[in-house]
């Protein structure tokens, strides 16, 4: 018994001694620990942040930063866009996670519907902001930088209407064993262009199908003016040609568009386009794309743009606000009229500008499509006037919603009466039911672009090259058959790319860059995009709506460096939705002192 007790005491003392060494460890560390205790921080108001499950990372970082600055934060995470939107409309938030992508590449689009009084997505009303947006819209790119900088100062620095978070990269990955790297374009704003893409082995272009992917399988509409979302941007861009295109760095160009050249007349209210004659509409017969022999003419352009700007031209018109500046579109009949017009930049007359680098100079302007013969010098010239001087209208003309459709085919398909339109009975042009496999299949599409959709199901949509599209130029499509797989989950899409089920993946999460770079047969391309993530304030009946000091206090609590490091350095700084488009020189730097100062000012003015 005694022996046992002795050994027990020995074991116990060993344990106690062990505990002593723990204590010293603690004492050593205890002295210099308070690293994460910000001494100046005071207790602040409670904030409710609304966002979607996909914003989880951003919400977590913002929550953490605000809490460390003394705010009390509650997160309202909604699983999908519909429930997020209903919460947003109900006003159940102080701060809401937003993101905006300027798909047209021009600054007006980046601010107008977001910040102007009564804009589509605007919750703020500020006369100064309205004035600056309208003033800048009238200016050419050389002049508008100062105005937009002033606008940014008013929006963020002075009033803190938004809290900018970051500007994202745009990334795409593809299989470089199969696809020719040289043929893959990475563009800042415009959707991915399919026509230059080619297989490494060019013989495969005629026999093999190139596989693209997108997340949404439910297509809003294949009529360009009836949709403007992720389900059709890529598809419609490649199915319909436009008057102008955006280059990879967002310059307005005629390359690969319906026009040989375009020019702006003095006064910035008149815009002229000289049209090509080597683009025909394609249609689908027996699962094959065939050339209709009908040229994409000036009449089709006039018809397409008039219906684009008119809210009542179709039911569910979703893009007329983009084209509200178009006043009149017409064909020019008199060649001498062009000679008398001076260019906006004063570099000469209109005729010279439009005739630049043409194989055969402009001899006559014709009205009827049948009379067009570019080789003989007979051209169609389209004149577009705007309601006020608005040079950025060209960017909107490069947007997929300004795609050119066939007047003849649309008038043949859209026979319904607009007032008594019933979606259950009438199948309007571009409705996905017309191209979905099954009983309702009746492909009525007329494509003016490089590709036409043959059919679709829930799994994929198949496309074929337009045989009548710029047949003798570099811009005709290289690969005959294309397919778009619908893969809703990003991780599955990446797996499909690695398994060679798909050849090209558009849009890639920052955390997956490493995986793509480590694969031998994959290539990653990335560039700064026009996408900006920011937080908007609830401007209706909340503490944050009333006090701009409180808003500024929140603004300076956000550290974009920390956000960037959470994304492994793959995010860029942003100050507003204008940041990717215009170098205003503004930069948001977190400043705990300003957080406290503005909060104090808020308390005093209460």
């Amino acid at each position: 018994m005694n022996k046992k007790i002795l050994s027990f005491i020995m074991a116990s003392s060993a344990l106690v001694l062990g505990a002593c060494s723990v204590q010293t460890e603690d004492e050593v560390n205890d002295s210099g620990t308070d690293t994460n205790q910000n001494v100046e921080t005071t207790e602040k108001v409670s904030l409710e942040i609304l966002g979607m499950g996909s914003n989880e990372t951003d919400m977590n970082i913002v929550r953490d930063q605000l809490i460390k600055h003394g705010f009390d934060v509650e997160l309202n995470t909604q699983p999908d866009y519909a429930s997020y939107n209903s919460q947003k409309e109900a006003g159940n938030y102080d701060l809401v996670m937003n993101s905006w992508t300027t798909v047209t590449g021009n600054p007006d689009y980046a601010v107008r519907s977001l910040f102007i009084t009564d804009g589509d997505y605007s919750t703020i009303s500020n006369d100064e902001v309205d004035r600056l947006i309208n003033e800048a819209a009238l200016e050419t790119p050389d002049n508008y930088v100062d105005t937009y900088t002033e606008l940014e100062d008013t929006l963020v620095t002075e009033n803190a209407y938004i809290v900018p978070l970051y500007n994202s990269l745009k990334a795409q990955a593809f299989n470089n064993n199969l696809l020719d790297s040289e043929s893959i374009r990475l563009s800042k704003s415009r959707a991915f262009a399919w026509e230059p893409v080619s297989f490494v082995d060019e013989a495969m272009n005629e026999t093999e199908t190139v596989m693209y992917t997108q997340t949404i399988s439910d297509l809003t509409s294949l009529d360009p003016i009836k949709a403007n979302d992720g389900s059709i941007n890529q598809l419609n861009t490649n199915m319909y040609v436009r008057l102008v295109n955006l280059s990879d760095d967002d310059q307005v160009v005629s390359d690969g568009s319906l026009s040989y050249n375009y020019a702006i007349a003095e006064g910035n209210e008149e815009y002229y386009f000289v049209l090509r004659d080597d683009i025909n509409f394609a249609k689908v017969e027996n699962d094959e794309a065939v050339d209709t022999g009908e040229m994409v003419s000036g009449q089709d352009v006039i018809y397409s743009l008039n219906r684009a700007k008119n809210p009542d031209s179709v039911p569910d018109h979703r893009t007329f606000s983009l084209h509200e500046h178009i006043d009149e579109v017409s064909l020019v009949e008199d060649l001498s009229e062009l000679e008398d017009i001076n260019l906006s930049d004063g570099s000469g007359n209109m005729l010279d500008a439009l005739g630049k680098d043409l194989d055969s100079p402009i001899e006559t302007l014709v009205e009827e499509a049948d009379d067009v013969d570019n080789a003989a010098g007979d051209y169609q010239v389209v004149k577009l006037t705007t309601t006020e001087p608005f040079p950025q209208v060209l960017n909107y003309l490069g947007h997929q919603s300004a795609g050119i459709v066939s007047q003849k085919q649309l008038e043949a398909v859209n026979t319904y009466d607009i007032d008594s339109f019933d979606l259950n009975e009438d199948v309007p042009y571009g409705d996905q039911r017309a191209v979905t496999e099954g009983d309702s299949y009746d492909n009525h599409l007329y494509a003016s672009g490089p590709y036409i959709m043959l059919k679709k199901n829930d799994y994929e949509a198949t496309f074929q090259r337009n045989p009548g599209y710029m047949t003798n130029s570099d811009h005709s499509a290289n690969i005959k058959n294309a397919s778009v797989r619908f893969i809703s989950d990003e991780d599955s899409a990446l797996s499909a790319l690695r398994a060679e089920e798909i050849h090209f993946l558009y849009g890639l999460n920052e955390t997956k860059y490493d995986i793509v770079e480590e694969e031998d047969n994959l290539e990653l391309q990335s560039m700064p995009s026009n996408g900006v993530s920011y937080m908007g304030f609830n401007m209706d009946d909340r503490e944050v709506s009333e006090s701009k000091d409180l808003r500024k206090s929140i603004l300076y609590a956000i550290s974009q460096e920390e956000i960037n490091s959470a994304y492994e350095g793959n995010k860029l700084k942003a100050y507003s939705t204008l940041s990717p488009l215009i170098d205003t020189g503004n930069e948001l730097t977190a400043d705990p002192q300003k957080v406290e100062d503005f909060y104090e000012a808020y308390l005093e003015n209460q």
């Binding site: 046992k4 074991a11 204590q23 560390n29 205890d30 953490d64 955390t511």
Partner: protein, 487 residues
């Protein structure tokens, strides 16, 4: 003919033998670095230690398996081996420790077996808590808790070593020891209660040598159930003590300087994409997983049990109304109902518990109804009626207690399912808020980095697996203990 005690001992050693070999194999696997092929030396030394203990354990098994071995007789070789195997605990091998203790002691009372696991819980909690000393700083009350834990370990070890002398102690000392044991369960080590009850029962005159009939007594024969109980008790204890011994700043506060770090002594399970310590997150996550699991089992157990009992006892129209209404609820898939509730009312712990509880009510009601239907036909219920006792009294005193056993088995087995459901919903982003360290949440973040930083998903995944397995083992054990056919 071997005695009952001897057979129990041999069974226990045989059970542990497989596990200790598996344990050393695990270290061998961990110590091998595959690309390029080499050995991680510290882990390999651990493997060698485990390997030696495993060989010793194998020898012990051989010595106790021979015909002439009787646990009551003195056996020098077995005694020596047992003492060496006890030190296995310092290398993290709890199996040799258990075998050593079991073979060392002549009399293996229920209290003794529970004491082993009670001490093991203390040891596990202390070692896990001690990992904090490698952190840049520790929680305010870390040292206090450490001292409390260590003194409890000493107290519990004392009971383990000298518990068999219980009968010789003075009555007052017995009382004080019992009260102290009961008090020490406050830190979450509920096994102390088992020990206290066992000691108390053994102390009652005429109890010694009596046939073991209660679940508590029969459970000690099922080693897997005891291991399950050990892990669950460990989690309960760490859930209680982590509030004081772990610093929340590591688990919930972002630190962008240490994003996605590999496992190290400071961050044993690595750090996630916000620079939070996954180890601390899993420890704090145990609180939520356990409490949601337990609550979303207890609530439907209560509601469903009551409804089922009322329904079966009164029969006819009452039965029809209640059961048809519950059938309607039964027709809705449980997970779908939970998803709908959370989507409608928002993601929070309370909503999650409500969502998971609602769907489980009908199945409990059905079980309880079947049991009560059987019990109400017994003579003692009839006798109670004949004596003029009220319905409510009969239900409470005679029916429910006799119909409860299958419900307890069912509840234990479904806690595991509740834990998995919680984690699944969190994994889908529908459980608790995203920043809360719940195991499903941790796993979800880990799944995004499965290829580049697999440890972010492996450890929370293991934690979920172990907890669910433990509840299943325990549930099986309780069922076996309850089953007259098995006895």
């Amino acid at each position: 003919m071997k005695s009952y005690q001897t057979r129990q001992t041999v069974n226990q050693v045989r059970f542990n033998n497989g596990l200790t070999w598996a344990w050393s194999a695990l270290f061998l696997l961990l110590s091998i670095q595959w690309q390029p092929v080499s050995l991680k030396m510290p882990l390999f030394y651990m493997f060698i230690a485990q390997f030696v203990f495993s060989i010793l354990h194998q020898t012990l098994l051989k010595s106790v398996s021979v015909k002439g071995y009787h646990s009551e007789k003195k056996n020098k070789k077995v005694k020596l081996l047992s003492i060496i195997l006890l030190f296995g605990i310092f290398s993290g091998n709890i199996f040799t420790f258990i075998s050593g203790l079991v073979t060392l002691k002549k009399s293996k009372s229920t209290a003794f077996i529970y004491s082993i696991y009670m001490v093991l819980v203390d040891v596990l909690v202390i070692s896990v808590t001690a990992m904090n000393v490698f952190k840049p700083f520790v929680a305010e009350s870390f040292l206090t808790i450490m001292y409390v834990l260590i003194s409890l370990l000493l107290f519990h070890s004392f009971i383990l070593v000298f518990g068999d002398k219980w009968h010789g102690w003075h009555n007052n000392i017995k009382r004080i020891v019992l009260v102290l044991l009961a008090l020490s369960s406050l830190i979450g080590n509920v096994l102390t209660l088992f020990v206290a009850v066992s000691l108390y029962k053994e102390g009652i005159a005429g109890q010694k040598g009596k046939r073991k009939t209660s679940i508590r007594e029969k459970l000690v024969r099922n080693q897997a159930a005891l291991l399950g109980l050990l892990f669950i008790t460990f989690l309960i204890t760490i859930s209680v003590t982590s509030n004081f011994s772990f610093s929340q700043s590591f688990s919930e506060s972002n630190n962008y300087n240490i994003i996605l770090q590999e496992p190290s002594l400071i961050y044993p399970f690595g750090t996630d994409n916000f620079g939070r310590d996954v180890f601390s997150r899993i420890i704090f996550g145990a609180q939520i997983s356990l409490s949601v699991g337990l609550l979303s089992t207890v609530i439907p157990l209560m509601i469903g049990g009551t409804l089922g009992a009322i329904s079966a006892y009164y029969g006819s129209r009452t039965d029809n109304i209640i059961m048809r209404l519950l059938d309607v609820l039964y027709a809705i898939p449980g997970m779908l109902l939970a998803i709908t509730i959370v989507a409608a009312f928002g993601a929070s712990t309370t909503n999650l518990i409500i969502a998971l509880s609602l769907g489980a009510i009908p199945s409990y009601a059905r079980t309880m109804r079947a049991n009560v239907l059987q019990v109400v036909n017994y003579e003692y219920v009839e006798a109670a009626h004949a004596l003029g006792q009220g319905n409510w009294w009969i239900i409470r005193k005679h029916v429910v207690p006799n119909a409860l056993a299958p419900m307890i088995v069912r509840a234990t087995l479904t806690i595991g399912i509740a834990v998995i459901s919680t984690s699944s919903l969190s994994y889908l982003g529908l459980g608790v808020e995203a920043h809360v360290p719940e195991w499903g949440n941790i796993l979800r973040i880990g799944s995004k980095y499965l290829e580049t930083n697999p440890y972010l998903a492996i450890y929370p995944g293991l934690a979920i697996i172990l907890l669910v397995l433990s509840f299943n083992f325990l549930g099986d054990g309780i069922r076996d203990a309850n089953d007259p056919h098995v006895n």
